[in-house]
């Protein structure tokens, strides 16, 4: 038996929204999220006919659909089924409202939004203010969200964050009250009986295959290997998996670590095969300008740019690689011209006529934008003027919308900036240049 005495003991909730996007859309239409068959389908030009982003519980049950995996062609033509377009901005707004509700139950530093529909709450210090048991408090939070926003929430309860997460994924989603609990005392009966490793958070098929090769096929076996051997084989991840099998998690939510090296970038899947150099460069230029604009909004300059190009299926079979990726150090800048010039150079160095389907631009080595580095080779006035131009364009777009002022190249064949200006996360809904 494991001695849990020195492990952190607290009260943690992991709360997620039942079929978040689908539920938000159902509520907006006055339909009950649990009764209606509804899918949220993105029909942007690059989704190859349509991509299901979310599915209501009823539609999941009836048609065996999965969110984010199903394509439009897999969705049956049933008159009972409603199909709606996504509205990403609305979901972001709802997420903020839900977290505001959570803040009535925990202090701000004890709340950690984990994704657009999941949050981790540390109720160790506050649960007693709201009920007789953590479960009571969970019910109260669920009722508050349902009453004020019309949405159903699922709650995983644990003595630490990983137990809460496992309780949510393994039990709460199938529970009639939509609540699941795992504690140190119930780890053997709740975690070990899990027979499919991929049902567990953090284990996808590659990790599962690796574990299978080591003779580990379920959570019981994972909990009963020699942790030192597992670490020798899989490194730190092995140690972490072993800890998870015993329900151990020593992370402290209120001591958050920022990323070591922040980066900022955008990528896009193109709506068709791009073959012509000019068209591809137009898109690279647009994405580069978008990233530069975001750098300026964050008051950062980038010391490194990277370009990733993905080939079309046919081209990658002929070429043997799926694409290429290269990065380059530059003098720190947030200007369109310099970033785009670096990207075009990277592209011309690597591209050899392949058809392109995917463009990604990232900037890293970010530093605070405190001034403009002048160079000797041009008059200072010209350099200052150019830097100002970018800021004026940003200001006009902030005020009147992105499409009010676009570069002529975006109007040429192949440009995608105008079409993408209203997308959020690649789907319908809002301004993506902030």
């Amino acid at each position: 038996m494991m001695n849990y005495q020195n492990e952190p003991h607290g009260v943690f909730f992991l709360i997620d929204n039942k079929s978040f996007y689908a539920s938000v859309e159902a509520v907006a239409r006055g339909w009950n999220p649990l009764k209606i068959s509804l899918v949220v389908m993105s029909e942007a030009s690059n989704t190859n006919g349509g991509l299901v982003l979310a599915t209501s519980p009823e539609a999941k049950k009836r048609y065996h659909l999965q969110a984010n995996v199903s394509r439009a062609r897999e969705v049956p033509q049933d008159p009972q089924l409603a199909v709606v377009p996504p509205r990403m901005n609305l979901y972001i707004k709802r997420n903020l409202q839900i977290n505001d509700i959570f803040r009535r139950f925990v202090a701000n530093e004890d709340l950690m939004p984990y994704s657009i529909d999941e949050s981790i709450l540390d109720l160790t210090h506050s649960w007693q203010l709201f009920g007789k048991s953590p479960r009571d408090v969970a019910v109260r939070i669920q009722k508050t969200v349902r009453r004020e926003l019309g949405l159903y929430t699922t709650v995983g309860i644990g003595d630490n964050p990983v137990q809460a997460k496992l309780a949510l994924d393994l039990y709460a989603k199938h529970d009639t009250d939509l609540i699941g609990e795992i504690h140190y005392s119930t780890v053997p009966e709740k975690i070990w009986p899990v027979n499919h490793l991929t049902d567990v958070w953090g284990i996808a098929h590659r990790t599962a295959d690796h574990l299978n090769r080591l003779g580990i096929h379920n959570m019981y076996e994972l909990a009963h290997v020699d942790p030192y051997e597992l670490k020798g084989e899989m490194g730190l991840m092995g140690q972490q998996l072993y800890a998870m099998a015993w329900g151990i998690d020593r992370s402290q939510l209120n001591k958050r670590r920022g990323p070591k090296n922040a980066s900022l970038g955008n990528s896009q899947v193109l709506p068709r095969d791009y073959v012509k150099q000019k068209e591809i460069e137009t898109v690279i230029k647009e994405v580069g300008e978008q990233v530069a604009s975001r750098l300026r909004h964050h008051h950062k300059q980038a010391g490194c740019v990277s370009l990733g190009i993905g080939f079309s299926y046919a081209a990658s079979e002929a070429d043997g690689r799926g694409g290429f990726h290269q990065e380059m150090r530059i003098a720190p800048t947030d200007q369109n011209g310099e970033i785009v010039a670096a990207l075009i150079r990277l592209f011309r160095n690597n591209w050899d006529g392949q058809t392109v389907r995917n463009v990604a631009v990232y900037t890293s080595r970010l530093c605070a934008s405190t001034g403009l580095q002048l160079n000797f080779f041009e008059p200072a006035q010209a350099q200052i003027k150019r830097a100002k131009t970018d800021h004026v364009v940003d200001a006009i777009r902030d005020r009147f919308g992105f499409t009010r002022l676009v570069y002529a190249s975006s109007l040429q064949k192949g440009g995608t900036a105008i079409e993408r200006a209203s997308l959020v996360g690649g789907h319908n809904g809002g301004n993506a240049y902030e």
């Binding site: 509520v27 907006a28 006055g30 339909w31 009950n32 009764k35 049956p76 199909v83 509205r87 926003l149």
Partner: protein, 106 residues
Amino acid sequence: MNDDLKLITERLDAGFKRLPQVRYQVQITDDPYDKTYNFFLNYQHRGQRLKSQPLHSIRQYRLTYLEQVVKGLREHTKLSIEYVGFTGQRWPSNQRLIQSRRLNVE
């Protein structure tokens, strides 16, 4: 014509393509959570999935205002209107029920 009505009719006209074998309908929902009235264009090809396109949300959460917008909408289109979430509520001008009965998916 006020701004709300203008937006609704513009978007309605863009979405109402008059395709054969397709039923078009305007849905108006009382959203008590956001305190808005939400407008949708619902259309369905015979035997196929229902598609529901958002048109607009009215922020003035008063039935007298809604009645005014619906009156304008009626002058603009002959599409039938389905009301959801209005069970028990009556139009201020003539005290008629807005929604005759509750849907079973509400």
